[in-house]
Symmetry: C2
Subunit: 614 residues, 2 copies
């Protein structure tokens, strides 16, 4: 094992056995860190996104943050009730892809899958960017290093996931609780503290209706759709129902409600504070950081809170790493992605999915230079498409199964689907030019990839006769060809193995025609071969070209034409025990293997001989 391999092994750990199928049995409280981090941490960028849009229209528009936040919380309520129904309908874990596959034709399922791939990738990028934003707000000196810090955190999260996180997810409880309690505390202090009710930045309160005319519907819609990024992640609990302790459905529904309540309170509270303090976007400092600083001052508690937010956002990115590789492995199992995605590596994780997710998120982070707000326009479309699909699927599900109160259920999910469908269209229209086009291109591209991969594997399966019984295999006589460089132990080793395979062996030696000294060389080799007498003939091949592989390939082709035989080429290879000596040998192996690879009836094998050189 080389040094690089040893370092890698140290980073990701030794191979692990298949883990016992014992599920993590979690309670609603534990469900928050395990399944709700993505949603809860949205408060770090949702209100910020609203304010950024409003501020672009002038200071007068900033007061709209309150009504828009209220609208978003209403949508949140609809989604929460809707997803509580999803939990009931698909207690086996109703991921969008699963709901779609059960209720719609495959193409809709693929749309859902593509939207989810985009969503997971953006969740990683947005969470890391927002986490680093929180860090650089607290420590402005780190600002210029934003992109390297983002990539460093991405590398850390990727490595942890390549290790396989296992049960360590429970360790997330502490920072999550610190985050929830801390932020609710900040909001409470902000609301009741008399000093905090001052308007520290701008002396003048906004005259409430002035300039409202100029604001316009489009601005409100834009701000609303930007703020909807705060709702991403509320579907995660419905995906993870099997993780809960029995009674699962009850506990999962309770967690969903808990998540909805906390998130709603946070969003409203932050909106009230932002409204009251006329908080606008500020270069180098996030809105959340401004609110915290105004509420509790820039003391040790502020720094603890900032670091907690960074950590919790890292953990939110981490949960996507739990989701996407599982999704892509299912797609691969259904032949929609290369089977590589369904291979577990030695740590039992779907390493290819992890690498692809890390690569995509890395590209995004570099492309937007780690700026959260530049990712927001791309973000919500995938999520809301998935929302719409899974809820429409449920409407169909209720229609088909007709359980008790199915009409009521269908109405709830239908309302959710309609609202999110409208929101999706709003995103598309208002954000197309500022980044949404990327998603509009990416989703069909992903679907095309899925469809083409599926079609390929189907054709391939027919070509391989996967569902038929092939003819019985029939043996042919075998001829072994051994290219040799002279009479030495390497040749001896290879010829011995060749004789084990077949009694019909021929050694070949290539001489590049040069300055007429061939005869001399030929005679000498012939003589040594005769003295050795290995029981195998030697054929000397002359060539006018420089390539040694070419005449051997020609010789093999001759043999193939002459008679119907199985031809085996055994290439002697010296294998020095130190890697750095390898390139001092065996220049023929690579060329010959490549040259013969396209001849399907020829077996090419290297015969390694270890060389312990003192």
């Amino acid at each position: 094992m080389g040094t690089a391999a040893a370092v890698w092994r140290f980073l990701v750990g030794p191979p692990v056995r298949v883990r016992q199928a014992a599920k993590q049995q979690i309670t609603p409280i534990e469900g928050l860190p395990a399944l709700s981090l993505d949603a809860l941490t949205s408060v770090a960028y949702g209100p910020e996104a609203i304010i950024a849009v409003l501020a672009a229209a002038g200071v007068a528009a900033l007061h709209l943050v309150l009504p828009i936040s209220i609208a978003i919380v209403v949508l949140l309520a609809i989604l929460v009730f809707s997803y509580r129904q999803v939990i009931e309908a698909y207690p086996g874990g109703g991921g969008t892809y699963a709901v779609c596959r059960a209720n719609f034709p495959p193409s809709v399922g693929l749309l859902g899958a593509a939207a989810l791939v985009v969503d997971y990738t953006l969740t990683v990028a947005v969470s890391i960017a927002a986490g680093v934003g929180s860090l650089t707000s607290a420590f402005p000196a780190l600002g210029p290093a934003t992109v390297p810090i983002c990539l460093g955190i991405l590398a850390l999260v990727t490595t942890l996931n390549l290790r396989g996180l296992g049960d360590t997810a429970r360790a997330f409880l502490l920072p999550t609780m610190l985050f929830i309690v801390g932020l609710l505390g900040v909001i409470a202090i902000g609301l009741i503290h008399p000093l905090a009710q001052d308007t520290p930045r701008q002396g003048q309160p906004l005259t409430s209706t002035q300039g409202l005319e100029a604001v316009g519907v489009l601005l409100v819609l834009k701000a609303f759709s930007a703020g909807c990024s705060a709702l991403t992640g509320v579907e995660a609990i419905a995906n993870g129902v099997p993780l809960f302790k029995q009674p699962r459905v009850v506990r999962a529904k309770r967690t969903e409600l808990l998540l909805g309540s906390i998130l709603g309170v946070m969003l409203l509270g932050l909106a009230v504070l932002a409204y009251r303090w006329h908080i606008g976007p500020r270069s180098g400092e996030t809105v959340l950081s401004q609110v915290i600083a105004l509420a509790i001052g820039r003391n040790w508690a502020y720094y603890v809170m900032s670091l907690t937010i960074t950590v919790v956002l890292m953990l939110a990115a981490n949960t996507s790493f739990g989701g996407l590789p599982v999704l892509t492995s299912r797609l691969a199992a259904d032949n929609y992605l290369p089977h590589l995605f369904s291979l577990r590596d030695e740590r039992q994780v779907f390493a290819v999915g992890i690498w692809v997710l890390a690569g995509l998120a890395g590209v995004l982070l570099v492309a937007v230079r780690g700026q959260t707000l530049r990712l927001i326009p791309l973000y919500a479309i995938g999520v809301f498409t998935a929302f719409t699909l899974s809820q429409s699927g449920l409407v169909k599900h209720w229609w088909k199964t007709r359980p008790a109160r199915w009409r009521y259920r269908a109405v709830v999910n239908g309302a959710g689907a309609a609202t999110t469908a409208v929101a999706t269209v709003i995103f598309l229209v208002t954000k197309f030019t500022v980044g949404a086009w990327v998603v509009v291109l990416a989703v069909p591209a992903l679907i095309a990839l899925f469809v083409r991969t599926h079609a390929y594997y189907a054709r391939c399966g027919r070509a391989l006769g996967l569902h038929t019984i092939p003819d019985r295999p029939s043996a042919k006589p075998t001829m072994v060809v051994v290219p040799v460089t002279g009479v030495n132990r390497l040749t001896q080793h290879a010829v011995a193995e060749a004789l084990s395979i077949s009694s019909r062996v021929v050694a070949v030696h290539v001489v590049a025609e040069d300055a007429g000294q061939d005869t001399e060389h030929d005679r000498e080799l012939d003589e040594r071969w005769a003295r050795w007498d290995p029981g195998v003939p030697l054929r000397i091949l002359h060539t006018e070209y420089a390539s040694v592989a070419r005449p051997i390939v020609a010789f093999v082709d001759e043999l193939r034409e002459e008679r119907d035989e199985q031809i085996v080429v055994l290439i002697p290879v010296a294998l020095p025990h130190r890697l750095r000596y390898r390139f001092l040998h065996n220049h023929l192996e690579v060329a010959l293997t490549a040259a013969l690879k396209t001849r399907p009836d020829v077996i090419v094998a290297s015969v390694p001989m270890p060389l312990r050189i003192p």
Copy 2:
């Protein structure tokens, strides 16, 4: 053949046969472009290097350019006479490495070889940098692109040499003649033209002795050693004697004299003009460009001359590409470098040597940002070390062979050796801190590489028993293991080839233990296998790990321990006709091949089955 391969084939051309050994039969005039370009083009940077050193000490020192140039021309005369003797003594082509090998212990030969490697590399870098310097002097707008232009020219020269230049060297005659005639013409015009005798830059002639005291010996030595870069390349004719028409020695000696005369006249002429016109270093314009512009004006002739200089310097770089790969191939043939260096590629050129030379020159050009003057301190040491070694070798040669007038010959060569040895020491001392330390590190590093490689091949030869007759090879019974994924045509193909090799075949199938559904899967596969009835048993291997390779390796190891058999592992490989489909298959092949590579008694082979998918 992929697109990249096709483009490459277009660039370097199709494979060529070994060329007829017919030598290029050249005359003294043709010898100038073929062997003397490096030396002749030195005038483009030699005088410049002197002036740069002098100017650093103040304008008053500039007049020293004349005496220093005279000293250099005297040294040139010694070298020319000395090398005429080398030609006589080694009419077979007396390269430094050859002379050293004949007269000194191997270590001295390696010192010569190392010095030559450094010399060839620097010749390429210096010539290209000076050529681009001439270009940017004529077209100052190109100045900022100096490094890209350098690398572009390097890529061009490299590609041409990978094609193999063959007889095209004769095409060099025209630009070479244009260069010689043009530059001699420029000097003649400069010397006789009354207008040109004005001092156009500075009205006041230098008062000749003023400030001389301050100049000091060290400055003179520095300027002298910098100017010696103009002497590089005078040894090339002695290396190429076999290229000349009979009587070779006479013609080669005549060429050497011709080269010496032209170079001497050019150096002296340029020195006189630079002295008369008080030419100093000028940012963005070479000294040679200044001289030409002052002599003939900035008209079409000036631009023709500038471009000619660029072209001729490119051709000078090209001649190094003729030298280094041949030298490294000889070193490889003597086991001093990896044998890769002695392999001809399909164009019959020593491609590895060409690539290494191009890489080293590229690094140098980037490191000095294409500035010729920054390469000069590194340049002359290698050349002058080689001068000293080959001439000392000749002294020993005369001493041993004692032909007519051997004392006289020994004195000439001894004087040359002594002068160049002194010059080498001067370079080392005066230029150590400004770049010569690179050479002082590189030469021993190269020698260490040579010595270690040689020692490795010696040990390796003993380990392989290269000079003994090995025991007769003995055959063993063979067992073939075929990893299969199921009953399909791929499996059929591989099992048929396995049965051709041996009647004892076992198919293995790996099942990763997962959720207890193994039994179902096992039973199904067993049943299909029984229905197929290929005459080969199927072994199902269960594993708790994710790796499929691991249980197969364990199975093979078991077989190896049980009985003394030759084990062959045949891996079925689907080979789609389109490259982009390849990664959709065959994930086992790479892992298994790597895992089994270290088991010397196991033959591992892929059995490719072409897959034509509509």
